[in-house]
Amino acid sequence: MQAHAPESAFTRTTNPLVTGGSVVALKYAGGVLVATDTLASYGSLARFENVCRMSTVGMNHDVLLAAGGDYSDYQQMLKMIDIRATQEFALDDGAALSASEMHHWLTRILYQRRSKMDPLWNQIVIAGFRDGQVYLGTSDLYGTMYTEDIIATGLGAHMALPLLRKGWRADMSEAEARKLLEDCMRVLFYRDTRASANINIGKVDASGCTVSAPIKLETFWEHPEFVRGGGHLGNGSW
């Protein structure tokens, strides 16, 4: 990339280095659940196996931010949010950014950075709960943003979204939502070569915002098709 750039132009880091994979999230009756795995890859190498890709942020830690893409850019984003939260705390006027406000602000930064050809290389998911309202939104490194009842980024947008569309209902209980989310993460672990079976689940509801300790997904590898493989089909399948 660098080599082809004209000498007069300057290029910045437009490739991610250490990356996280998919983020999957869904609303249920009274809250939001968000899942990320704990892997940060260096290219295709499973370099860091126990990192957390989601965090409670904001002055009152009532907003959940989860990210895929470049891990150091995600850390930088957390730093920017913390500086702003400290400013809010110092002003001491009782105001604190809501999830929706945080989402809009971060998206402005993402868009500004991509317009400078210096993107924050992330797909982010933001969840919150305020005034009885659940919030769930996402943005990408181009500054595209939207809110939805179900969200999946990265390879999850291809593999988890169809499962979520099939299984999701607005009146799901937390247990049902958790089951669906874990199924999505399991499928991603089976099929995404940059995913891991260790996942964090973040929860946002009326009582606040929490990130669970990592849990290990149950997996089953003895399916005949897994054992036999697909090579005999002669269609390029594994």
Partner: protein, 249 residues
């Protein structure tokens, strides 16, 4: 002020023949006619308390802040010209943010105090600017433990166990000397600080005042913030009772 003017008081860039910089002394005077503020460093935190004259009955309560938060763990209490002091607070906030961003750890009280005092000192060196007409107390509770600093318009800073600035500073300091700061807790210091302020305020001669009290201590989770309303009310009531007992004697 013993030897006023005689032509050497127009600028900070000229010493008087007896070795003084009058503009800096005048700036200090601006603090010495302003509201009294006290700071107490105790074993588990720092407490700051300042009086605010009730300028009008129509003034919104709690407006015109004199204690401001700089970083999560540090705050500044001001005496003197408020507009001048607000620039000091803003500078402190920038320095605190920059330090955290660069080093990854919260700014120590010593660094914050020295950065602020260096900045204030530069305002005593050039004829294009005037010194700050304000002194500040700096409270900090980071890795080094609870610390209290005071910075004057001259740019001098000292670290204290307890100190006072403003018009009642001399009386307040002698009151503070009576406290046992090795055993005092922050919660107790809040009450004592309020009493010290009221001991220097004569209701028969001066306008009524409102108190502003902040702390950064273990009880506040090492966050600098105004004390809870209940504690504030308790301190104010105790201070008023103390003053009445004083006046009855």
């Amino acid at each position: 002020m013993s030897s006023i003017g005689t032509g050497y008081d127009q600028s900070t860039t000229t010493f008087s023949p007896d070795g003084r910089v009058f503009q800096v002394e005048y700036a200090t005077k601006a603090v010495d006619i302003s509201s009294t503020a006290v700071g107490i460093r105790c074993k588990d935190g720092v407490v700051m308390c300042v009086e605010k004259p009730k300028l009008s009955k129509m003034l919104v309560e709690g407006t015109n802040r004199r204690i401001m938060t700089v970083d999560k763990h540090s705050g500044i209490c001001i005496s003197g010209m408020i507009a001048d002091a607000r620039q000091i607070v803003n500078y402190g906030r920038r320095e605190a943010t920059g330090y955290l961003d660069f080093s990854g750890s919260p700014i120590p009280g010593s660094v914050l105090a020295s950065r602020i005092s260096m900045m204030m000192h530069t305002y005593t060196l050039y004829w294009t600017v005037r010194p700050f007409g304000a002194s500040v107390l700096i409270a900090s509770y980071a890795e080094e433990g609870p610390q209290l600093y005071s910075v004057d318009p001259s740019g001098v800073s000292y670290r204290y166990f307890a100190t006072a600035i403003g018009k009642g500073k001399n009386g307040a300091k002698s009151q503070l000397e009576k406290l046992d700061l090795t055993t005092l807790t922050a919660r107790e210091a809040v009450i004592e600080a309020a009493k010290v302020i009221y001991s220097q305020h004569d209701p028969s001669k001066e306008k009524p005042i409102e108190l502003e009290i902040s702390w950064v201590c273990d009880e506040s989770n090492k966050m600098h913030q105004l004390v809870p309303p209940a504690l504030h009310a308790e301190a104010e009531a105790a201070a008023k009772a103390y003053r009445e007992a004083m006046d009855d004697d």
